[in-house]
């Protein structure tokens, strides 16, 4: 839809917008990871010529958070700062330069407290905790299915893993432009969720929701990093009100690292029991997340630690214990794959070790334990269409896995792993019975078609999907359709871009709206057969215009236990990945030669977009596997908050990706389609770890797989120690007694 305008630089992002009289806002951030704010004197800044408004925590005191259970943030820190980079004050001035100078004139006095910078420190809990209630944010303990394994286990294995935190790194730095018109707030923001942002703005400013309008212009990437409401959204709004002029705040790259909400560092432990022949009997999965300073999506992430293992594998008896701790670092939150890439890495790397010890091929072991289509998992998730088996077989075949595994020369290797993801969370963040997506289509007097959708295109191509769905039903070329999107005043409600929900949900709403329009049009033309465009002109003759609506609501009710809202989805995507690597045992560098990827997309509505998403996910996954680290200096400072220092994968390390699309035609998806935005990231990381083992005989049980760690593992191997790098055991965490959810619950219905 918008590739051309983006390629030639014509597309407008939030920071491209300028309004008459607009001021520039800047945010003062904490230099301490943990400190009490003693005083904040803004008088000098206020009297600097050109400064139009200054705000501190007291000016925006209403707490908020993306989850109803975690309303633990304020736009600007109130009594305490909890990470380096936490916003403490904001100014608006005639120029950026003046705003910058004003920040330097703000006198902030702090009383530094010992910071909590690691999981170990958070658990030990010495000194003042990050939040008054203690460092433990959430602990979950659930037991699913059979209380005991169905048969006596013949083999048991336990492994520990660590997944390093990393961030989204969207190309576009966040930006927000606020103005007030007759008591109404209008905010342009690079957000993935305009309707949620509207809700938070209304809460903080004490306004009814319809007194707030949020517009997402073109958004230059999000990956989950633009889901939460942010200080810059609220500060721009507040400053604009106080100054009586529009205010824009655009973050620097460094500030984006402080907004973060990225991947949680996770210390994990997995234990499984088996029959010798390779049937999985039970699994216990434990995970401990380093959450950073605030809640964000953390509670959901904690549940996701154990959420999606069962959509790929049958697990008769399954125990999940997961916890999240607060630390004095930028808050972690949702990044592509949400809370599932860490456990997926642990699970798939663990399976590789199990397969080896049982003397089975990694592909064979997986095939033996696949979750079947049209089934209910042990944790009460309803799997509908599944091309998983086909994914496994096709990826194994196309990569030559069986011929290469354990047969390539030293230094070269191949690894295998699976993945699965939701096609939209079945439960909204704020529980209600309304549709999750609505789409409106207007047919005007000249036969023009305009689609109104609240879905937000953040570069993933949702605009294309919505328009193509309508074009397909109406039988008109997509170029003939205009789209108005992501504007809370002009477009109908949509939950936003997260949980891989847009194609499935907004796509379905668009399809339904188009079908309704078609019906209306042909009713007015007496059902005569003719091209849509001609029928449309006849149909609008009388009223001048026609309108139709479509909506989508997942046909699911979650099971009734605490935490059951995380994981259910109307459908799941599936994928299998084979990674082939070449390692240099002298330098520890690994080159990924080839990724073979089979993905069950349900149905590809727009093939180039599907391929783009998979290639993008492979790129991001390889960055997480080899390079990316959001890590901190003992002072609490981010080690490298810049695009040169934060290492992501460059195009030169990108391998050839061989793609295989499996079309399982989901009964509930629009035209049978499922998700592709997040799932393809999952199997790549463990597939690479498994390939490194095949190449060098070392286990990388900790991301990223740096050259240093590869050499360290090789050294351990050569002196007869366990050839691995990774954590040992699992920390001592006060988990509650697990809630037992038996294989079927009394009175429960899991409708399909």
């Amino acid at each position: 839809m918008d590739a051309f305008s983006k390629a030639v630089g014509r597309a407008l992002y939030a920071d491209d917008l300028r309004l008459p009289g607009m001021l520039y806002g800047k945010i003062l951030r904490s230099p301490h990871p943990h400190a009490r704010i003693l005083s904040l004197d803004t008088r000098q800044a206020e009297s600097l010529p050109g400064v139009r408004a200054v705000v501190t925590g007291r000016g925006l005191p209403v707490p908020y958070g993306i989850l109803p259970v975690s309303q633990d943030e304020t736009a600007l820190a109130m009594e305490k700062v909890r990470y380096v980079g936490e916003p403490v004050a904001a100014v608006a001035a005639d120029t950026e330069e003046t705003a910058g100078r004003a920040l330097q004139l703000i006198r902030a006095e702090y009383d530094p407290l010992p910071p909590v910078l690691s999981l170990e420190e958070a658990i030990r809990g010495k000194g003042e905790p990050v939040h008054a209630k203690g460092n433990l944010h959430k602990a979950v303990s659930l037991k699913f299915g059979d209380a005991n394994p169905p048969e006596e286990p013949e083999y048991t294995r336990e492994d520990a893993f660590f997944y390093e935190g990393n961030t989204h790194l969207p190309l576009e730095e966040h930006s927000a432009l606020a103005l007030w018109k007759k008591g109404r707030l209008v905010l342009y923001s690079s957000t993935q969720t305009p309707f949620h942002l509207r809700k938070i703005l209304a809460k903080v400013f004490g306004l009814p929701e319809d007194a707030v309008r949020v517009i997402a212009p073109k958004v230059g990437g999000g990956f989950g990093g633009k889901l939460d409401p942010f200080a810059h959204d609220l500060c721009a709004s507040k400053l604009a009100r106080d100054a009586g002029r529009p205010v824009k705040i655009t973050l620097t790259r460094e500030e984006v690292f402080y907004c973060h909400r990225g991947r949680h560092p996770a210390w994990m432990n997995i234990r499984t029991s088996w029959k010798k022949t390779g049937e999985l009997l039970e699994m216990r999965f434990r995970s401990c997340l380093d959450g950073g300073a605030y809640g964000s999506f953390g509670v959901v992430c904690t549940y996701y630690q154990g959420g999606l293992q069962p959509t790929t594998y049958r697990i008769p008896s399954y125990t999940v214990e997961s916890a999240r701790y607060f630390t004095n670092k930028p808050p972690c939150g949702p990044k592509r794959g949400h809370g599932t890439p860490q456990p997926r890495f642990a699970l798939e790397a663990h399976l590789d070790k199990v397969a080896e010890e049982l003397g089975l091929g990694p592909v064979e072991l997986r095939l033996k334990n696949l979750a079947p289509p049209d089934s209910t998992t042990v944790n009460r998730l309803r799997v509908t269409s599944s091309g998983l088996r086909e994914c496994v077989e096709k990826a194994a075949e196309a990569s030559g896995f069986r011929d290469k595994f354990r047969k390539l020369p030293y230094g070269r290797g191949i690894g295998f792993a699976l993945g699965s993801y939701l096609c939209g969370a079945a439960v909204p963040i704020y529980w209600n019975e309304d549709p999750h997506s609505r789409v409106r289509i207007r047919l005007d007097a000249k036969g023009g078609i305009t689609v109104f959708s609240g879905a937000t295109d953040i570069g993933q191509g949702s605009d294309t999907v919505v328009v193509w769905a309508v074009a397909e039903i109406l039988g008109v070329p997509p170029e003939k359709i205009r789209l108005v999107a992501a504007d809370t005043d002009r477009t109908p409600f949509d939950l936003g871009t997260y949980s891989s929900r847009v194609t499935y949900m907004a796509g379905n709403a668009a399809r339904e709206a188009a079908e309704n329009l078609l019906e209306k049009v042909y009713r007015r033309t007496g059902g005569r057969r003719m091209p849509f465009e001609k029928a449309a002109r006849i149909a609008v003759e009388k009223e001048g215009a026609l309108e139709s609506w479509g909506s989508y609501k997942p046909p699911l009710k979650p099971a009734n236990f605490k935490g059951s809202g995380v994981g259910p989805s109307p459908a799941y995507s599936f994928c299998a990945c084979a990674a082939q690597v070449q390692c240099d045992p002298r330098t520890g560098r690994v080159r990924v030669e080839r990724i073979t990827f089979a993905h069950d997309i349900g149905r590809a509505i727009h093939r180039p977009s599907v391929e783009g998403q998979i290639e993008g996910a492979v790129h991001m996954a390889l960055g997480e596997a080899f390079l990316e680290e959001q890590t901190f200096h003992p002072s609490g400072l981010h080690r490298g908050p810049g695009i040169l220092d934060y290492k992501f994968l460059s195009s030169l390390e990108m391998p050839e990706v061989k793609l295989i699309l499996i079309e399982s035609k989901d009964p509930g998806g629009p035209f049978g389609a499922k998700e592709v935005g997040q799932g393809p990231l999952l199997p790549v990381i463990p597939a690479v770890a498994n390939a490194i083992y095949d190449a060098l005989g070392i286990r990388m049980d900790k991301t990223p797989f740096t050259p240093e760690n590869i050499l360290l593992a090789l050294e351990r191997k050569s002196c007869g120690r366990i050839p691995r790098v990774g954590p040992e055991g699992f920390p001592d965490i006060p988990f509650p007694e697990p809630t037992h959810i038996p294989a079927s619950l009394p009175g429960e219905t899991v409708p399909c």
Binding site: P31, R639, S650, P707
Partner: protein
């Protein structure tokens, strides 16, 4: 986006004018070439200068030419963009120089970046190449402001920020000389003498002096190679740069050897001790291994880049061995 601070801008039309401008404006004026090193540092308020003298229009520093008997000398203007240096036919025989230029940063940076700027770039350290707010939050160090500590090596009284330029070691291996032109005239010096072992100010260049050209002489070096260690295959500065230049006779006997290491100390340096072990004999696996292990001993990186010092030190041996093996495979 970070913005540049205010500064005065002067564009010089010729070398003499550029030198005069610099002298008149005094120490607060700085030379601007491609700006790819200078401007990011100005944005981060690491370098404070009130005036920039742009030398990009100077004819005297542009282009390459051949001189000397049989054209054995090549002059490279300091204004030559790295993209040009990486592929210029006159540099065909100077493998290390071309390879080094081709591995700097990214293609778009190489189009803007110049050779002179590359050689005169500032030293680097993960504790100073940060925004002003970041540095202030940590506390300023010996290089980053008025601090008296070193965050990379607490207790050190000397800054060991690293010179990470790629082309200097390659030129050292090739026994290149550089010409500087300033208020007091011109001087021609071996490239080694351009640098000094001080992380805060790593150049011996005097204020007002402009590096105008680099001279290469075929008689000092006939074969060369440059290898670079970094996290990714583009974009990243060298965690270690190894350049080797050799002069061998027909029998393969090494007559001259120069191994230069970059990215591991405040100055790129010639590892004489290692180079000497290669002289007087053809290269053998043993001599290669010996030179390599001496280089690992001589490389003394500290924790101020994004890979561990021990890894970089260890890689010095690997890269030196690889470089020599590569030359060994080629017919001399």
């Amino acid at each position: 986006m970070l913005r540049l601070p205010a500064f005065r801008y002067f564009s010089a039309r010729n070398l003499g004018e550029a030198v005069r401008m610099l002298m008149d404006l005094g120490p607060e004026a700085t030379i601007l070439a491609g700006g790819t090193d200078l401007l990011p540092k100005m944005k981060r308020r690491q370098i404070r200068c009130k005036a920039l003298v742009d030398i990009r229009l100077l004819k005297e520093i542009s282009g390459l030419r051949r001189t000397g008997e049989n054209g054995g000398e090549v002059h490279i203007g300091s204004g030559v963009p790295l993209a040009e240096a990486a592929s210029h036919p006159l540099l065909e025989e100077w493998d290390a120089v071309r390879q080094a230029a081709a591995q700097v940063a990214t293609p778009s940076i190489r189009n803007a970046a110049t050779l002179g700027g590359n050689l005169c770039q500032d030293t680097r350290c993960i504790f100073v190449d940060r925004s002003e707010e970041w540095r202030a939050a940590l506390g300023f160090c010996l290089k980053s402001g008025d601090g008296a500590v070193c965050h990379a090596a607490p207790g050190a009284d000397r800054c060991r920020a690293v010179f990470s330029g790629d082309i200097a070691p390659a030129l050292m291996a090739a026994a290149a000389r550089v010409r500087l032109c300033g208020g007091e005239g011109t001087r021609l010096l071996p490239i080694e003498e351009l640098y000094r072992d001080d992380g805060r100010v790593g150049l011996t260049r005097k204020h007002g002096e402009i590096l105008t050209e680099v001279l290469l002489d075929r008689r000092s070096c006939r074969e060369s190679v440059y290898l670079k260690l970094r996290r990714r295959d583009c974009f990243d500065f060298a965690l270690l740069g190894v350049a080797i230049g050799l002069l061998r006779d027909q029998a393969g006997t090494v007559l001259q050897a120069r191994i230069a290491l970059g990215g591991v100390s405040p100055v790129p340096f010639l590892a004489w001790e290692a180079s000497r072990t290669l002289l007087g004999n053809p290269l053998t696996p043993e001599s290669v291994a010996e030179a390599a292990s001496i280089c690992a001993r001589l490389a003394k990186p500290i924790s101020n880049a994004d890979a561990s010092p021990s890894y970089r030190k260890r890689m010095a041996a690997v890269l030196v061995a690889r470089g020599l093996e590569e030359l060994l495979r080629k017919p001399s």
